[in-house]
Amino acid sequence: MRALLLRRLATAVPTLAAVVLLSFLLMRLAPGGPFDGELAMDPATRAALVHAYGLDLPLPAQMLRYVGGLARGDFGPSLVYRDFTVTDLIASGLPVSLTLGGLALTLAVMLGISAGLIAATRAGGRTDRILMFAMTLLTAVPTFVTGPALVLLFALALGWAPVSGWAGGDPAHLALPVIALALPVAGAIGKLTRAGLAATLRQDHIRSAHARGLSPSRVLLVHALRPALVPVASYLGPAAAGMLTGAVVIETVFALPGLGRHFVQGALNRDYPLVLGVVILYAALILLFNLLADLLYGWLDPRMRG
């Protein structure tokens, strides 16, 4: 187990390094400089700015400077929001995004596993088919359709929830974005749980457990569920990535001041350091979730502890 974890860590660190290196190089290779848009700038000011941002240094030196900054938690200055550093922007957006993502992931796991369990106990029946079709529906409908559709129904038509805004994390404001973000992931987890259970319930040890006279619920929860959740664990990394991607849309739709919004704004405004910083942060988050999944494997199935 420790060996596996170390090995994963040994992959994760170079991966993160590669992300930093490649993204950084891409930024510098971009045609045109960051100040090209500002026509009115006189050459002296421009030179001063270029020097201030360290853009006149050779590429390796710039790289070192950036990585050195990263190590101190400094992602550099934002080019568009002149009064803020990227670190400020991230610090303001991250809590919003983490709240949103954390709640949505919890909801998705609870919904998905329950749906998968219910469907598996009624395998082949109508409940099973209806639930599984609903799960497919959830995975197939993109967040940027669910988001507006939820707003249309619950905010505009029924008036049960506010249309948009953060309001300091007010639960009423959070409900719709969290649900919209959770639904596709819940669908995927539901399908994986159902498939995992179907495969596990066919195995010999389940027949042995039944033969010992155990109750069906005990067989399901004690003997079948844990190994059946292995595919769900391996989905955790992609789920985290999906959540982050979804959050970009959801934050845009619901006008939430999260990281995703900064990212989109940064991308539209060509604010390179901001985009770079968010990408690196996201990469780190996804790697973290993959490591978490590895830890879960060992608990779910002791054979994987090596």
Binding site: F144, V145, T245, V279
Partner: protein, 263 residues
């Protein structure tokens, strides 16, 4: 829950309509009808109404679907080619080569790919070519993993060893015994890749980072519809509904094929 043939039929109908119908409509997707701004559905000349600048919604939706499907098909094919080549090579050669190749896939998997694609857009400007190249480059990873697993399993199968004993050269074993036996699984994952690509493309377009005006796609239309949804909800529901229908049909078809092959 749904009739076995429904997804295939609905999908074919959508594809045919997107390909054939637009020229038959009274208004082109990008022509502005100054008299028809925000025309409601069932207006004369605008069967499903028009948008905020008077462009026919039906024509725009169909052309949007065409663009979305074309990008998706192209990107899925790119992912098929790269994924099968990469996965089959790794799985067949095995050993260190396999380990190194799959390490690359693992590392790429761990990237926030959507954001890398966006990064590329930011850096190199937006073009439809870049959109589908970028997406194809993202989506081959799953295909590569699946194909590699299949090839590794097949490589140890007695019938492959028997072919070796029969004197068949490696290239022939791969092309005659291994690839035909993974074709079904590859097709299933190809079908499942298409909705993924549709999703990414619409996502990028929704954010304003994908296909550019005046060309349109379902993602752009959903975005436009969402902006106006309090005034004309049908402008959101029509492209959104079509997008969802495409995604569901493809997902159901792909999953069904995959499950049948796994059984």
């Amino acid at each position: 829950m749904i009739r076995p043939r429904a997804p295939g039929l609905i999908l074919s109908a959508i594809v045919l309509a997107a390909l054939l119908l637009p020229p038959l409509l009274p208004w082109r997707y990008d022509v502005i009808d100054w008299g028809g701004v925000r025309a409601p559905p069932l207006s004369p000349g605008h069967l499903l109404g028009a948008d905020g600048v008077g462009r026919d919604l039906l024509a725009r939706t169909l052309v949007g679907a065409r663009v979305t499907l074309a990008v998706a098909a192209a990107a899925a094919l790119v992912s098929l080619v790269i994924g099968v080549a990469w996965g089959a090579t790794a799985g067949w050669i095995g050993g260190r080569v396999d380990e190194a190749m799959m390490r690359v896939v693992d590392a790429l998997y761990a990237l926030p790919f959507m954001f890398v694609v966006i990064l590329l857009m930011v850096v190199f400007g937006r073009s439809i070519l870049l959109v589908f190249l970028g997406i194809g480059a993202v989506e081959w990873l799953t295909m590569a993993r699946v194909v590699r697993g299949q090839v590794m399993a097949l490589r140890e199968q007695p019938f492959v060893i028997a072919a070796e004993a029969a004197g068949a050269p490696p290239r022939r074993i791969v092309t005659m015994h291994v690839l035909p036996n993974i074709a079904g699984v590859a097709l299933a994952y190809l079908l499942l890749t298409v909705p993924q690509v549709v999703m990414i493309e619409s996502f990028l377009s929704f954010l304003g980072l994908g296909v550019q005006e005046p060309l349109t796609s379902l993602g752009i239309l959903v975005k436009e519809g969402a902006d106006d949804m309090d005034i004309s909800p049908h402008a959101l529901l029509l492209p959104g509904g079509l997008l969802v229908a495409i995604l569901i049909c493809l997902t159901v078809l792909g999953e069904r094929l995959r499950d049948r092959l796994a059984a």
